[in-house]
């Protein structure tokens, strides 16, 4: 595709006029914006609001004093990162003028426009942003409850269970043992995450437990970046990884925690030395309690703004939302957050919301100097749609010239680390 240079240049002055608009908006958009949840959605929203709309009064309600990212948790399993290196505090956001309140938000009153905190205090808002992340559906897999998760860790929600629980079990696993994973059906947090985890555990085994095996039991018949992951597994970890999809009886319906056993749909009993169960999920509790979720357990939003489709003056972000074809990823939450803040500022000033363009890049590490990615540009109108002809996954080996393959994978591994530093720097730096 080619672009006419003339139309590009002609369009520029109009864009320059749009750049001048925020200063006008600043005088008009004063209002109280309260944000519940200090993860990728909430922290990005708070930072963007302070940078771009300084007249807004911004309060961030987050029960924890620190945030450990889900991304790069798999690199802790590989032994590449420490949990400290993926944990951040809210001091810098506070220094930027965000009022950070370390309390649990226990209720939302959308009529009175107030959020109740665990200490009984109430926080009034003009516009509310809810970015609550996920809750795990205990019991959706029979007998998989919080007690079972101590023996069979999920490692999928750092505020419920740190990744170090699973890390410790991996380090203590017997030589030549079997690592079993149960992977849920869509939708769930971080679609490529389980497969990056397989890769990072394999990297660890290759060095420290070379006879160990990995058996992944999946409730789906396909997964994100599948050809790239499977090519890499064959190349880097031949014979180590077996992946069983739903049509091959891969769906885990029950567990026996005492026996470290998964039970599949057709009653196959699979025992592991270490068993990682990633259970089905739903929107975080505060969103469900406030009537932001529908019967699916997830929150419908208006694709043009990310305002709740069910409750007015509340915006919902990130993994909690129904936003397909956007994935439940940190990057997606961050671009949703910025758009939502721009829409909130516009609504407070009585202006139309800006055109909705969302963006996502998800990198996965699959081995040393070996990264892969998926990219998407999305537009929101009546529906959320991915821009045709754009985005997609990294090229497969067969589509790359032999002399460029290694360099391509190496660059994507470097860019993955650059992405992590940039996005966490924006949130917490």
């Amino acid at each position: 595709m080619t672009i006419s240079r003339r139309t590009l240049l002609a369009a520029a002055p109009v864009a320059a006029a749009a750049l001048a608009a925020p200063s006008l908006a600043r005088a008009q958009n004063a209002g109280r914006v309260v944000i519940i949840g200090g993860g990728f959605g909430g922290a990005s929203a708070a930072r963007f609001a302070r940078d771009r709309f300084p007249a807004l009064d911004v309060t961030l309600i987050e029960q924890n004093r620190t945030f450990t990212t889900c991304p790069y948790g798999n690199l802790v399993l590989a032994g590449r990162r420490t949990i400290e290196s993926i944990t951040f505090g809210y001091e810098r956001l506070a220094a930027r003028g965000v009022r950070v309140v370390h309390q649990r938000a226990t209720a939302i009153d959308p009529q009175a426009k107030r959020v109740r905190l665990s200490d009984g205090a109430e926080v009034p808002y003009d516009r509310l942003v809810v970015s609550p992340g996920i809750d795990l559906r205990w019991g959706a897999i029979e007998r998989y409850d919080q007690a079972a998760s101590a023996r069979m860790p999920h490692g999928w929600a750092p505020y419920v269970q740190p990744i170090t629980v699973l890390e410790r079990q991996l380090r203590e696993m017997r030589q030549g043992g079997v690592f079993v994973m149960a992977i849920p059906d869509n939708p769930f947090r971080c679609p490529p995450g389980p497969y990056e985890r397989i890769s990072m555990v394999a990297e660890y085994f290759k060095r420290h437990n070379p006879r160990a095996k990995i058996l992944a039991l999946d409730a789906k018949n396909g997964f994100s970046k599948q050809p790239l992951f499977q090519d890499a597994w064959e190349e880097l970890y031949p014979g180590m990884i077996e992946w069983r999809g739903a049509s091959n009886d891969g769906r885990v319906t029950a567990v026996n925690p005492e026996a470290l056993e998964c039970v599949t749909e057709f009653r196959d009993r699979v025992r592991g030395d270490v068993v990682n169960v990633i259970p089905p999920q739903m929107a975080g509790q505060i969103a469900r309690d406030a009537g932001l979720a529908n019967a699916s357990g997830w929150c419908p939003i208006k694709p043009a703004t990310f305002e709740s489709a069910q409750v007015s003056d509340i915006w919902v972000l990130g993994d909690a939302t129904i936003a397909a074809p956007m994935p439940k990823s940190g990057f997606a939450a961050s671009t949703q957050a910025k758009h939502a803040i721009a829409c909130i500022a516009a609504s407070l000033a009585g202006r139309e919301p800006p055109p909705a363009v969302y963006f996502n890049t998800c990198y996965s590490h699959v081995g040393e100097d070996y990264g892969i990615s998926i990219v998407g540009v999305f537009r929101g109108g009546e529906r959320l749609t991915e821009v045709e002809g754009s985005g997609g996954i990294s090229p497969r080996n067969s589509a790359l010239p032999a002399d460029r393959r290694a360099e391509f994978r190496r660059l994507e591994a470097i860019y993955a680390d650059g992405w992590y530093d940039a996005i966490t720097g924006e949130m917490f730096g």
Binding site: I3, L8, V14, R52, F331, K338, H339, P353, S390, E426
Partner: protein, 97 residues
Amino acid sequence: MRIPSLAAAALLACGTAAAQVPDGALLGSACAGCHGVTGEGGHGIPSIRQMHGREHFVELMRAFRANERPNTVMGRIARGYTEAEIAALAAHFARAQ
């Protein structure tokens, strides 16, 4: 080359078409996810701030779109944006501090 006057552009922006005018700063906030808040780059990711004149930025994106320049993700990204959006991004990063 004829460039419409700023006043004319401002009139356009204040009219009903205002919502359709790309917002370079908002669009550019997505680039921040990898290139940093001000496009400064780092950790192996190139800077897209200031060092590129507006035209150079547009030419780069055009080359990425057409896969005429080696890249990993930028071709897949550039093909998702309109010409007006790329122009707005170029203007934004030309000014970013």
